[in-house]
């Protein structure tokens, strides 16, 4: 169990060092950077994928795009994509890194939004039109609330993806918590590696918890069937 004791001492060294709590490379700064990059990428992905998924699911046109993008995104190696974009576009701004982050986060949201909308009971759609709702009302007032659990699942899967890829992106010079891990590994500073890794894992878990909470708040109890029959 020697690794456990060295593990603990590395953690102590990392979190105990005053240097890590102030200045440009400090934990709060790295944390905020990580939040900024992954948040920005996720936001852009949501803005692209949700409307696209809604449109394809509602009209039934463009299903192939969804299937292909889903499979491709899973097969494409993130590190390879990051390196390719950086080699192509340079490192003058964060965009060469943000673009692949967005590209990889679009498919999970797209697929789940599409499946969610498409999977709504046809009877329900029929009833909605039969009541006299117009197309956009059917989408906004019936299909989206009913498909919301899947749409949010897509966003959650994307968030998992984006947090992990932002970490890897530190290799290509992006800031964020990945820096501790990449730089620490390069300079054999294992306190940084272990401390950074623990921070990233915690970050990912907090994101998960936030999504679970968002789901609770936004999904109708009638859809999640969370209520016990009184």
């Amino acid at each position: 169990m020697t690794w456990l004791s060295s593990f603990v001492s590395w953690l102590g060294e990392f979190f105990g060092s005053g240097e890590n709590w102030s200045g440009p490379g400090s934990i709060p700064v790295r944390l905020l950077e990580h939040l900024e990059f992954s948040g920005l990428a996720l936001l852009l992905a949501v803005l692209i994928a949700v409307p696209l998924g809604l449109a394809i699911g509602h009209t039934g046109r463009g299903e192939l795009l969804v299937v292909v993008s889903a499979n491709l995104a899973r097969a494409l190696p993130t590190l390879g994509l990051l390196v390719m974009f950086v080699l192509l576009l340079g490192t003058a701004s964060i965009w060469p890194v943000i673009i692949p982050l967005v590209l990889l986060s679009v498919p999970p949201i797209l697929v789940n939004t599409f499946e969610g909308i498409k999977g709504v009971d046809p009877e329900l759609r029929d009833a909605a039109y039969g009541m006299g709702l117009r197309g956009p009302q059917v989408l906004g007032r019936v299909l989206v609330p009913v498909a919301l659990p899947l749409i949010l699942l897509g966003c959650r899967l994307s968030a998992i993806q984006v947090v992990a890829t932002t970490t890897v992106a530190a290799y290509t010079g992006l800031g964020g918590l990945g820096r501790y891990v990449i730089d620490g590994f390069a300079t054999k500073d294992y306190a940084s590696v272990v401390g950074g890794s623990v921070l990233i894992v915690l970050f990912a878990l907090v994101v998960q918890v936030l999504f679970a909470l968002a789901q609770r708040v936004t999904v109708s109890p009638g859809v999640s069937q969370r209520l016990k029959v009184r």
């Binding site: 190696p77 993130t78 390879g80 994509l81 390196v83 390719m84 992990a164 990945g178 878990l205």
Partner: protein, 226 residues
């Protein structure tokens, strides 16, 4: 041609089999090992765990809860944390990938077994199948399509995820990406991406083929419908 940078084909030819550890051929072999072992291990472990979660319902929630957490863990920090236990070896990549695979496959096994219609299960019991034979001859075959769908996801993502291991020196073809970044040069990146996507396609195709062979009735039904 002689003065400019080498074409991508020249580069492949020069690096295919150099005899060194980082020749494309060796990287490909490493990549296959590090992705196939977790796929197989994940299946072998997920089957009994999935079966147990169906048999003892109380196990299901904690198991899937744990697997959801595991799935959310970013691979790179997990690799890094494992280094202190398993060192800079292929095992460090194989263990987390196995867990990611299980996170997908356990729910797939459970869903697959739950997809067995109750009347089918009941009639198997009524005909006198022992629980083990019922499992092997009735329930598992019916669960195959769902499990294989999970396997396809696991296979494709494992193959692509191995490359992150390059950041700890164990990434198979991912090694081409780090090499290309350190010594800015595009061909290795392209070759790496293409080979990884090809591997994923082949694995996916094989699993589709396996599904056809294992579940001939699914195709028969589709043919009838159309």
């Amino acid at each position: 041609m002689g003065d400019g940078p080498p074409s991508i084909w020249e580069w492949i030819g020069r690096n295919w089999d150099t005899g060194r550890a980082d020749s494309i051929r060796n990287l490909l072999t490493d990549h296959l090992t590090m992705s196939l072992v977790p796929i197989v291990l994940a299946l072998v472990l997920a089957l009994p765990l999935g079966l147990a979660s169906v048999r003892w319902r109380w196990l299901y929630q904690p198991t899937t809860g744990l697997m959801n957490v595991v799935y959310a863990l970013p691979s790179l920090p997990v690799f890094m944390l494992l280094i202190s236990v398993t060192g800079l070896s292929q095992t460090t990549v194989i263990i987390p990938l196995t867990f990611y695979g299980m996170a997908v496959l356990i729910p797939a096994v459970v869903d697959g077994l739950n997809s067995v219609p109750d009347h089918v299960r009941q009639s198997a019991v009524a005909m006198g199948f022992t629980p083990l034979r019922r499992l092997l001859q009735v329930e598992l075959p019916i669960a195959v399509p769902v499990v294989l769908a999970g396997m396809r996801v696991v296979a494709v993502s494992s193959i692509s995820l191995v490359s992150v291991g390059a950041l700890i020196g164990q990434g198979g073809l991912g090694g081409l990406f780090t090499r290309a970044y350190q010594n800015p040069f595009m061909p290795p990146v392209i070759v790496g991406i293409v080979l990884i996507v090809l591997l994923a396609l082949v694995a996916d195709g094989l699993l589709v083929l396996a599904q056809r062979l294992l579940t001939p009735w699914v195709r028969a039904r589709k043919g009838q419908a159309s």
